[in-house]
């Protein structure tokens, strides 16, 4: 399993209850390595902890969507 598949698998299995709706999260190696409302800051912090090419970024949703 490559790094992105592994991070996506972790994303699917977790509800991130300790992260607020609307925050960006950066996932690497079965951990949330940074999170916050500002994407650039989340990426900046993630880069300190992991190769960004292997980090998965996602925005936390907790309410229903009608797109």
């Amino acid at each position: 399993m490559n790094a992105i598949d592994k991070n996506f698998d972790y994303f699917l299995k977790n509800d991130f209850s300790d992260v607020k709706e609307g925050e960006w999260i950066a996932i690497y190696n079965n951990n949330v390595i940074s999170h916050g409302l500002n994407l650039k800051k989340v990426i900046f912090e993630a880069k300190k902890m992991a190769p960004i090419s292997k980090v998965l970024l996602s925005k936390i949703k907790k309410t229903a969507s009608y797109l």
Binding site: I4, E23, V55, K59, S65
Partner: protein, 141 residues
């Protein structure tokens, strides 16, 4: 090259005992500045790939903020966007494909509800089969 990717839906808990399934995939957005991996929601009801402004800026996507388009949301409100093209890589296990797709960059004020939407300009490259009773969907080319 043929591609056949099978994904599971993301279960989102709305309240106690109420879950919805969301068709999310991991994608790599390839920009001039950097390539970044994001989750994106599949939505055939949207006409284009829609990128929040901060996402477009973070990868260094080329777009013209002055060349605005108006788009409608489901409730009849309008939003400002600008058109561009984005390179996308999707991969799973050893399978990998790169596409260039039309996209719209959302120019409005950021809210907590924006997300990356993969609409028809992504779907037109692929066959996508939803199998929600079995909690999965398939992307084929």
């Amino acid at each position: 090259m043929l591609m056949n990717l099978i994904y599971r839906c993301k279960h989102l808990k709305l309240e106690e005992g109420v879950y919805v399934k969301r068709p999310l995939i991991p994608v790599t957005l390839i920009g001039r500045v950097q390539s970044l991996n994001f989750t994106a929601v599949l939505d055939s009801g949207s006409d284009f790939i829609l990128l929040p402004l901060e996402v477009a800026e973070s990868i260094g996507l080329e777009f013209n903020k002055e060349k605005k388009d108006t788009a409608n949301t489901y409730d009849g409100n309008t939003i400002s966007t600008t058109k561009s093209r984005v390179r996308i890589r999707i991969q799973k296990d050893r399978e990998k494909q790169v596409f260039e797709c039309k996209c719209a960059v959302f120019l409005g004020k950021e809210t907590k509800f924006e997300e990356i939407i993969f609409g028809s300009s992504f779907f037109e490259h692929l066959k996508i089969l939803f199998d929600y009773p079995h909690n999965k969907f398939q992307i084929k080319k």
